[in-house]
């Protein structure tokens, strides 16, 4: 139960960070991605602030086997492969088209905009297609699953 409450609080704080920083404004994100136009460098500082705090946290987390609540530390270690690059490319296209990535999309959904609803729905469909294709692949090559 505590785990659920801490997750809720982390989601809220993350969402406030996105809202205060301007990351949840698609127009501001697009202005950051528009290097050839009138460039808004603000989002560089969002990354600087987040990584400054994040790197301290991960320096501590790296040395622990269990979290402070006694849960296993789950820090993924997967390889650099084609799907990492292809997936990130598809994501970059979608991000550049409207200026929304998954976090800001969920925050925008909370403002009740129909457009955010369409984006999140399409995003879930995309995630569902991935799950379907992965399951089919796992059935075909059970030894590698």
């Amino acid at each position: 139960m505590v785990v659920v409450l801490t997750a809720l609080l982390a989601g809220l704080v993350f969402g406030w960070g996105l809202l205060i920083s301007g990351m949840a404004q698609p127009t501001k994100v697009l202005a950051f991605l528009d290097l050839a136009g009138r460039w808004d460098p603000s989002l560089v500082l969002v990354m600087v602030g987040a990584i400054a705090v994040g790197s301290l946290a991960f320096a501590v987390a790296r040395r622990r086997k269990k979290s402070l609540l006694g849960l296993d530390m789950r820090l993924p270690t997967t390889r650099i492969d084609r799907s990492l690059v292809v997936g990130s490319t598809l994501f970059g296209i979608g991000w550049g088209l409207v200026g929304l990535c998954p976090g800001p999309a969920l925050v925008a959904l909370g403002t009740g905009q129909a457009k955010a609803f369409v984006f999140v729905l399409a995003m879930l469909v995309g995630m569902g297609v991935f799950e379907g294709l992965e399951q089919r692949r796992a059935r075909r090559a059970p030894s590698q699953a």
Binding site: V13, A36, M47, V107, F119, G126
Partner: protein, 144 residues
């Protein structure tokens, strides 16, 4: 390149970034997890027992964030310019792309770079470069 100094908001950007970092820190130190939003959300599509509550709670926190924000700071600006067709296509690409790429701006960009993960650096450089290229094409080549 022309920097738009009028649009530049260094303090809110830095303070918001620090809040994102605090959320990431809470999530890894308390829950032992990477606060990667695409991964947390995607894991709900094929739910496993005992692995649902915290995912729903984290997503609910993000969705509820603007409601509480409004109480202190006034209306949250998340205005979306794109049309419905573009939104559907872009949403689909973001959904499938972040799952194949094992992460998005939060999981790779913030968490991955914070823990000096080489694969997150590759992923972040890729989606950033493609994001820049996409905006260049749509704004300057197609003039949309």
């Amino acid at each position: 390149m022309t920097i738009d100094w009028n649009a530049f908001t260094p303090w809110p950007a830095l303070i918001g970034g620090v809040l994102i970092g605090i959320a990431v820190a809470m999530f890894v130190l308390l829950n032992g997890r990477i606060a990667g939003i695409s991964g947390v959300l995607g894991g709900l599509l094929m739910p496993r027992r005992g692995d649902i509550g915290w995912r729903v709670a984290f997503v609910a926190g993000l969705v509820a964030a603007p409601l509480l924000y409004q109480l202190f700071f006034g209306p949250a600006n998340t205005h979306i310019d794109a049309g419905f067709g573009t939104l559907a296509a872009a949403g689909f690409l973001v959904g499938i792309g972040t799952r194949y790429g094992s992460g998005c701006t939060s999981g790779h960009g913030v968490c991955g770079l914070s823990r000096l993960s080489p694969r997150s650096l590759v992923a972040t450089l890729t989606f950033m470069a493609v994001g820049f290229a996409t905006v260049f094409v749509t704004r300057h080549l197609l003039g949309a």
